[in-house]
């Protein structure tokens, strides 16, 4: 895992390298995988001036079983590329040989019966896990050329990356569903919400949210996410999510300013959607 010499940028370089490894492993299924999570957030919001540095080691993918071929099996493809299942025993949680996590997740509504693993035969039930709130990432995405961050690594991969609105929906579910288990709530997830709201103009987000609400497949998850957005952010700078987003910048930025700004931007989006 992390060697003591790791710093945030070094970690980002390694994480991006593993992301490309995983994309290579899953190349036969490239139509069915979409990059989500923090790496996708950074791809969508890169270049904005916020105090908190980009930092993640995880590579998260949404898998669309409707577009997944039977062969190669996901578990075989991952293992052939030297990924192993995480020692946690959690389905869909893979790690690279040097311990960088790669998560394969299937939106709840396509994950079949069960509680943790996604049932998408003939792929093994350890290969992917079910997750709530990812439906929008299968509707709002486009292809981006993803490059390595290490200048000596010349790989370029054209791949589906979830759009900002879908990422916001996914992050809001992650936060909203963990409100009652505070140990699983991470300030950085709330800061990612701030990042997205800061980087993307309200009108553009509103346009995509309108589309997600009109799509039968993503409507439910999107509607729930907007309830979380209202409760956790838009009610004001003292709302839980707004406080968390601010707290993420403690010692490096201006927590109070982030809390006020994220609550205003969240409210702006809800007001804009209300007008639609």
């Amino acid at each position: 895992m992390n060697s003591s010499g790791d710093n945030a940028s070094n970690l980002l370089v390694r994480a991006r390298s593993v992301l490309l490894d995983a994309l290579a492993a899953l190349r036969e299924h490239s139509d069915a995988v979409i990059i989500i999570g923090a790496q996708a957030v950074y791809l969508r919001t890169g270049g904005i001036d916020v105090a908190l540095a980009e930092a993640t080691k995880d590579s998260d993918f949404a898998v669309d079983p409707r577009l997944l071929a039977d062969d190669p099996r996901l578990e075989a493809a991952m293992k052939a590329a030297s990924f192993v299942l995480s020692a946690t025993g959690q389905p869909g949680a893979w790690v690279s040989p040097d311990g960088i996590p790669v998560d394969l997740m299937v939106p709840e509504s396509l994950a079949g019966p069960g509680t943790r693993a996604a049932r998408i035969p003939p792929h093994d039930k350890t290969a992917t896990r079910r997750a709530r709130g990812l439906e929008a990432t299968l509707v709002d995405f486009d292809e981006i050329e993803v490059t390595a961050l290490n200048p000596d690594d010349r790989r370029v991969c054209r791949v589906k990356v979830a759009g900002a609105a879908a990422l916001l929906v996914a992050k809001l579910h992650k936060l909203g569903e963990r409100v009652d288990s505070p140990s699983r709530l991470h300030d950085k997830d709330a800061h990612d919400v701030y990042r997205i709201l800061r980087a993307i103009e309200t009108d553009a987000l509103c346009h995509t949210f309108t589309r997600l609400l009109a799509d039968e497949f993503s409507e439910g998850a999107t509607r729930e996410a907007l309830v979380y957005l209202a409760e956790l952010f838009a009610t004001g700078p003292k709302a839980l999510g707004a406080i968390m987003a601010g707290r993420a910048e403690e010692a490096v930025g201006n927590p109070e300013q982030v809390s006020v700004a994220v609550s205003i931007l969240a409210d702006d989006l809800l007001v804009a959607l209300g007008r639609e």
Binding site: I48, E256, V260, L265
Partner: protein
């Protein structure tokens, strides 16, 4: 955080006095209420300012504002009549008096005749039927600005600012007649300021009457003891929720004409210190500028300070930067930083260092 507009400074222009009430209401009303300035017909001297006060359910009052430097009880009947006319003619639905300071007896009389009021010490009364509203707040019961006479021996005030800026902006030596012309201050006040500067050894006078400033940075620092960006000007605090870069794009795109940028954004023109995360801007009409630039009023987490200048010396020597932003003169930026919030003073020191090393580029 303390509300600076209500704590300390004396509003000196009628525009600053007229804005007092709007600012106080905005701070006290929930965020879903709207307080927004509307234009008034100045030619007919109908009112000094007017604003709309709108509740979340859409009920609104159009408030005519009469700004007074001072107001006595005997003036009130005439003002009540004037507001009655405005209301009868449909220009307003209610009236508000704003002043630097309103004595207790005056406030009681205003309340008795059904007028709302606000003064710069924090006294406030706003009453309306629709939307139903009653806001009352207590400021000072004595006039903080009534002194035994003009204080001597300071660089406070507009004449000092005019003379000091002239001496800072252009390398001497000076003759008094040249300084009177360059500073646009009266001859008498130029003499008074020079006498003080001489007594502080900030200025020397040769046998033939020629004037020298031996150390411009010492003069600038001495001025910063009496001219205070936060204390001298009418300050309001705002947040640009998408951050400063995006805010400055808005400033470039939405020209309001009567502004100049000071503080770290301006200082970066000459000396880069650190990533800019807050802005200090002079604006002749902060409420309008804020609306045009997409700023939101906030008590906490502000990243933009708008300052309505108490005197217009601060906009002397502004330049339009190639990127489209209008920047205050370096000497003004330096004094504003020295007296600004947060880490502004250390940025001011950095700028002064640059100015010392590059005097030929700006002076």
């Amino acid at each position: 955080m303390a509300d600076l507009t209500e704590l300390v400074q004396e509003p000196r222009t009628s525009a600053a006095i007229a804005s007092i009430g709007m600012g106080m209401l905005r701070k006290r009303l929930p965020s879903d209420w709207v307080v927004i300035e509307v234009s008034v017909d100045f030619k007919n001297d109908r009112a000094d300012k007017a604003f709309i006060l709108r509740s979340p359910d859409g009920a609104e009052q159009r408030v005519a504002v009469e700004a007074k430097r001072s107001l006595e009880v005997r003036d009130i009947p005439r003002i009540r009549e004037k507001f009655d006319e405005l209301i009868a003619q449909g220009f307003a639905t209610t009236g508000m008096i704003t002043a630097k300071y309103l004595a207790k007896s005056t406030r009681e009389r205003l309340a008795a005749v059904g007028l709302s009021y606000a003064d710069a010490t924090g006294n406030l009364l706003m009453r309306a039927q629709s939307p139903a509203l009653f806001i009352s707040d207590r400021g000072s019961d004595s006039d903080p600005w009534r002194g035994p006479g003009r204080p001597r021996g300071t660089l406070k005030g507009e004449p000092s600012a005019k003379v000091v800026r002239a001496l800072l902006d252009v390398q001497g030596p000076w003759r008094i007649s040249e300084l009177v012309k360059a500073s646009a201050a009266s001859t008498g006040s130029v003499y008074r300021v020079l006498e003080f500067l001489e007594s502080e050894a900030l200025l020397t006078r040769e046998g033939d009457g020629t004037l020298f400033v031996p150390d411009w940075s010492a003069l600038l620092r001495r001025w910063s003891e009496d001219y205070q960006f936060l204390g001298t000007n009418a300050i309001t605090q705002w947040i640009a929720p998408r951050g400063i870069d995006s805010f400055l794009d808005n400033v470039r795109k939405n020209e309001t004409g009567d502004y100049s940028i000071t503080g770290s954004v301006a200082a970066a023109t000459w000396a880069t210190y650190a990533p800019v995360r807050s802005a200090m801007i002079y604006s002749m009409n902060p409420e309008r500028a804020a609306a045009v630039w997409g700023l939101r009023a906030t008590d906490a987490g502000a990243n933009v300070i708008l300052a309505m200048p108490t005197f217009d010396t601060v906009i002397r020597g502004v330049v339009d930067r190639p990127d489209g932003l209008r920047i205050a003169a370096p000497t003004q930026v330096a004094v504003d930083l020295l007296t600004g919030p947060g880490r502004a003073p250390s940025e001011g020191e950095e700028l002064i260092k640059w100015m010392i090393n590059n005097e030929q580029l700006w002076r």
